[in-house]
């Protein structure tokens, strides 16, 4: 690995703690990822990206900034990133999946708040995330209360722009959102100094749709029995889609899919066709939050799909590519983003329908509903999800956990017992 210390130092990274973070990450990756059997060869690219997570990609972004590009960080799949790419900007979905900088975060946040929120605050306050540091602007949103209020504090440390996301899906909510999308367009134009023309927006829409298409293709292959790729690897691919270069990423995922198709022809799975298949549904699983997938897949089950923002929720709906005028293209964005079935909406029955559909399409034996601790939207909704699944005769296990490792033994017992029930 090249020496990036100078680069990190110039970004104001706390080098000592950062070394520590990379150590932990490396070890975790070794335990959870590299120890797997029969991984597809195409995962090599992902291994490379992870090993260079704070290296190569950061350098690319800094180089792009040197020639005038602007980098925008987001925390929610609600932010229409097409607008950013259309202005020659770069969008990175910032992760917040590690219990790091917790002490710093708790100086400004209550202890009982979702670990994802604590994590993004912690990364910033402890100066540990080069992505956050290099961003020209962070785009927040008013989805859940915790995040909404946390951005008020976050903005004291980093320039932040907040979009208002609606809570319902009525006519006037579409109007509100359309307005917000136009406002974001202006903001992005202001920061980048570039005009977003219909042509540019159209090609950005295609760029991001292509990435969604590749991820959809990957997920479709996971419907096969035996499944050709582990849930951990598929989750990682989805996590990396948030910060890798979209064009290169799309190519690599398509190559991987070619390989998986050959596996499927040979009826070769990553695990045996007897392995219990589960759908993991719920709160987002930001990098490097691999705890639960690691436990599930070492308990005799395989995850065949993620009903989460790092998964289906991010790739399900496509933006209509046929528009020509700015108005048509923006409307297409509005329509696409309003289809997101996040638990922050009320009512949110389409999410339940989607979960049931996924459970059937992916031929799962059961659903594990995962909520981050203190994530009210998903926690409250899990009651309805459980009821609906039980009505369909689909077994479900509800798990609420955070990023710490202290409950791993209990999780193992609960998940192994669930697998025993499904077998």
């Amino acid at each position: 690995m090249a020496d990036y210390r100078e680069m990190w130092r110039s970004l104001g990274i706390d080098l000592e703690s950062h070394d520590n973070l990379l150590d932990i990450l490396g070890k975790l990756y070794g335990d959870i990822y590299l120890s797997q059997n029969k991984r597809p060869e195409g995962m090599e690219y992902l291994d490379f990206v992870v090993s260079e997570v704070h290296g190569y990609r950061i350098k690319e972004l800094l180089d792009a900034q040197k020639v005038g590009s602007k980098v925008f960080g987001t925390f929610c799949v609600f932010v229409p990133e097409e607008l950013i790419w259309a202005a020659d900007g770069i969008c990175v979905g910032l992760c917040a999946g590690a219990e790091i900088g917790k002490g710093d975060a708790e100086k400004v946040l209550p202890r009982s708040i979702c670990p994802l929120i604590k994590s993004f605050m912690g990364f910033k306050l402890a100066h540990l995330c080069p992505y956050t540091e290099l961003c020209d602007l962070i785009i927040g949103e008013t989805t859940c209360d915790g995040k909404k209020k946390a951005f008020e504090i976050f903005s004291e440390f980093k320039s932040t722009y907040v979009m208002e996301t609606p809570q319902m899906k009525r006519e006037k909510d579409y109007d509100l959102w359309r307005n917000e999308v136009y406002k974001l367009k202006e903001k992005v134009e202001e920061v980048t100094g570039k005009e977003i023309t219909p042509e540019r927006l159209k090609s950005a829409i295609k760029l991001i749709n292509d990435r969604r298409r590749a991820l959809k293709r990957l997920n479709k292959l996971r419907r096969e029995i035996p499944v050709p790729i582990s849930g951990r690897d598929a989750l990682l691919i989805n996590q990396i889609s948030f910060y890798d270069d979209p064009k290169r990423f799309t190519e690599k995922v398509n190559l991987l899919c070619d390989e998986l198709e050959k596996r499927i022809e040979r009826k070769e799975g990553v695990v045996s066709d007897k392995t219990v298949r589960v759908l993991l549904a719920g709160s987002p699983m930001a990098l490097p939050n691999w705890k639960l997938p690691g436990v599930i897949e070492s308990s005799g089950a395989v995850i065949v799909d993620e009903e989460s923002c790092i998964g289906e929720r991010n790739i399900r709906a496509m933006v209509d590519e046929s528009g020509e005028t700015m108005e048509e293209l923006i409307d297409a964005l509005v329509d696409r983003y309003m289809q997101i079935d996040c638990a922050c909406f009320t009512p949110n029955n389409e999410r339940i329908e989607h979960i049931i559909q996924l459970a059937k399409d992916f031929k799962v034996d059961g659903v594990i509903h995962y909520t981050l601790q203190f994530c009210d939207p998903y926690l409250v909704e899990s009651y309805k999800v459980e009821k609906a699944l039980e009505k369909e005769g689909i077994p479900v296990l509800r798990i609420e956990t955070d990023y710490s490792m202290e409950d791993v033994e209990q999780l193992k017992t609960r998940i192994e017992a669930f697998v025993e029930v499904l077998r």
Binding site: E400, T413, R414, E420, V421
Partner: protein, 248 residues
């Protein structure tokens, strides 16, 4: 064939050997900081052909003795059905966790609930509280039976409850009344967990806490049923493990 089942719990290690469908040996001992050696000691004393482990320490046994494993949930289900073939619901309150298990007609686990992370409302909680109030654990339940229903304990966290108990003592509250309130709080929590999986009789009450008469009384009152308590409620998991060892 001699089938050995071992339940390596957080507080105790339980061991059962079955031959021709009958238990021929049972043993219980306290767990220590070195569970592997503790288990080794016991295994040296007995003869067996196959072995299966359950409980918190099951993966240790898998690594160390190449034992097959199942979770406590399955082991308790099988053990309880062996003792009471009609059993449909199980409540197990052990040293470090509480489980509610619902079985179908055929004895298969259909739903379960478990406390997560902390030892709130488990055997360990009772032990700590008994100590603060100056009781031995086996007299704690009887003492609570003699108490009055005049106070309530709201906290189920071991640390907070301790504070609450100490302030009650400082106020001059009688210790058996406090004991009673603590029992009621745990029973409430456990019966809520049972209700989440559905209460179908017969309900078997297992685990160390099932030896506590006050817990039985409160639970029966709250659930409005009578509980079935095995002669030795602590051995149910090891028994189930021994039966499963024979099947593997």
């Amino acid at each position: 064939m001699k089938c050995l089942g071992i339940d390596i719990g957080s507080r105790t290690i339980k061991l059962t050997i079955m031959k021709n469908g009958k238990p021929i040996y049972m043993h219980k001992s306290l767990n220590t900081y070195d569970p592997i050696n503790e288990v080794k000691k016991h295994l040296n004393d007995v003869e067996y052909d196959v072995m299966l482990a359950t409980g918190y320490g099951r993966s240790l046994a898998q690594r160390e003795f190449n034992a097959e494993t199942v979770t406590e949930i399955k082991a308790f289900a099988v053990g309880a059905r062996h003792l009471f073939p009609e059993c449909r619901t199980i409540l197990d309150i052990g040293g470090q966790d509480t489980k509610a298990i619902s079985l179908n007609d055929a004895g298969k686990v259909v739903k379960f609930e478990m406390n997560d992370r902390c030892a709130a409302g488990t055997g360990r909680f009772l032990e700590v509280m008994a100590k603060i109030l100056g009781y031995e654990i086996d007299e704690f339940g009887n003492a609570a039976l003699k108490g009055d229903d005049n106070i309530q304990i709201s906290s189920m966290c071991t640390v907070f409850a301790e504070t609450e108990v100490i302030s009650l003592l400082a106020r001059g509250e009688k210790r058996e009344n406090i004991a009673r309130a603590l029992h009621r709080a745990i029973a409430k929590r456990s019966s809520a967990m049972l209700k989440r999986v559905g209460v179908i009789e017969p309900v078997v009450f297992a685990g160390g806490v099932a030896q506590n008469p006050c817990m039985i009384e409160f639970l029966e009152e709250m659930l409005d049923i009578s509980l079935v308590v095995p002669e030795d409620p602590q051995i149910v998991g090891a028994l189930g493990a021994a039966i499963l060892a024979g099947e593997k």
